[in-house]
């Protein structure tokens, strides 16, 4: 029994130290596989998740070390800043203004992957966590997913364009240079999703002149 408990404790320690928790995502997607060996960065990344129905979700990650520059560029402050920027931009073009309280901003900064139209953001942030999860995983609800269309006019950006710009301006120079290099923007889609659906997102990124980005894939299992 002693030997066994030793082993279990060792394994436990191993898993505790090496683990990075699975990101909670509104939809589970199986990414296609490729031979590329470049790994997805865990820090300074804006990743765009496209569901098979064409709903778009974004998650933001800041600096890996939360204490760099006084914690100003960690994930949570960047999320908060991005939301503030996005709302400011949204209110310029829309008559029904959105305003959020400090505690609502705080709630937002805790959410890993978000995707609700800005007009529903207040309602969404005031839900309990289980309600939020339930709300966001209903893919047939038109109020889920960041609104996106084939808008080419950046004077009147759609919400996806607002968000991507907001994230860019909320980040520090590390995030910005990563996004420029294309490593900071990752597009993730299911392997069965029609190209038409993903193309919509790629096209929007092109319009934003964020035409360098990375596509998330899994490692190819077959021997090449």
């Amino acid at each position: 029994m002693t030997a066994m408990s030793d082993v279990t404790v060792l394994l436990l320690t191993f898993f505790m130290l090496t683990s990075t928790f699975l990101q909670k995502e509104p939809v589970t997607v199986i990414t296609p596989s490729s031979v590329s060996e470049t790994k997805v960065p865990t820090a300074n990344l804006a990743s765009v998740l496209v569901s098979p129905e064409g709903k778009v979700f974004i998650s933001i990650a800041g600096e890996a070390d939360p204490n760099v520059a006084g914690g100003e560029w960690a994930t949570e402050p960047i999320r908060k800043e991005a939301l503030k920027n996005a709302i400011a931009e949204y209110n310029k073009n829309h008559s029904n203004k959105v305003s959020l309280t400090e505690s609502e901003l705080e709630t937002f900064s805790k959410i890993g992957s978000f995707g609700v139209p800005l007009r529903d953001m207040k309602k969404f942030l005031n839900m309990s966590q289980t309600e939020q999860d339930k709300y966001i995983s209903d893919m047939n609800n038109p109020g889920v997913g960041i609104p996106i269309d084939d808008n080419k006019d950046l004077q009147k950006p759609n919400e996806f364009q607002i968000w991507m710009r907001a994230i860019y301006s909320a980040g520090n120079e590390n995030l910005q240079s990563q996004m420029k290099k294309g490593e900071g923007i990752a597009v993730k889609a299911d392997k069965d999703t029609p190209y038409e659906t993903v193309h919509n997102v790629l096209d929007n990124l092109q319009t934003l002149k964020m035409n360098r980005f990375s596509l998330m894939t899994a490692l190819k299992t077959e021997q090449d």
Binding site: L12, F21, S34
Partner: protein, 252 residues
Amino acid sequence: MAQIEQSDKGGKKKKGAQKKIPIHVDFTPMVDMNMLLITFFMLCTTMIKSQTLQITLPTNEKVDQTEMTQAKESEAITLIVDTERDADGNIKKDENGKPLNIVYYYEGKPEVTNETIDAASGLLTANKLQREAFVGNEGDIQRGIRKILHDRNAEVLKRIDVLKKDWREKKFSSNKDINDSIYQARAKEIRNDSTLTRPVVVIKATPQASWEGLIGALDEMQINQISRYQIDNMNNIDSLMVIDYVARHGKK
């Protein structure tokens, strides 16, 4: 084992001495709990990090026709990725359970003009489109679209193979990292060597093509060391060619 034996030296027990019971600690609940925690951590962790494919798309800004760099016709090859779907939009699978991703391709220009369109049927009189499947290697032999691309980029691949051999034998440096980086730099030089015949690949995808198919096409570029490729949108001629091909040869 998990018990502490207390030796009881012989001799007469003193009167009033405490009775000594061997202490036995039961580890079972602790091990149970550890196992549960291990299971929890195992299920919640991600060991494999996703890989990424870096791509650069052209901007949407209008570019003057004269400013565009025209690819040589002999070098150009266009791939059109398509996926068979049933009426519900589900991807059809072949007998091995693999999704039916197809790739059509043509070399050079499409050569479709008003004269080559048959007025009665709306189809073409001649179609240079060909169809291939995404199949990997069989042993050392490339198959399907990989063979087509491999043959067109043979000059580059031959040089890279020589380079790879040196890299495996660590000829550049005995240090693994330096060896790798020298190899990468040399391979890049070869890929971009304009004195070699290299193809220019244009990748297009039909609206119903699966994301997997497109990534598969991009992946073939990596496998075949093709440095010049781009993703483009389908135009009327491309769609017409695909429709015409299906009308002639049927679906797969």
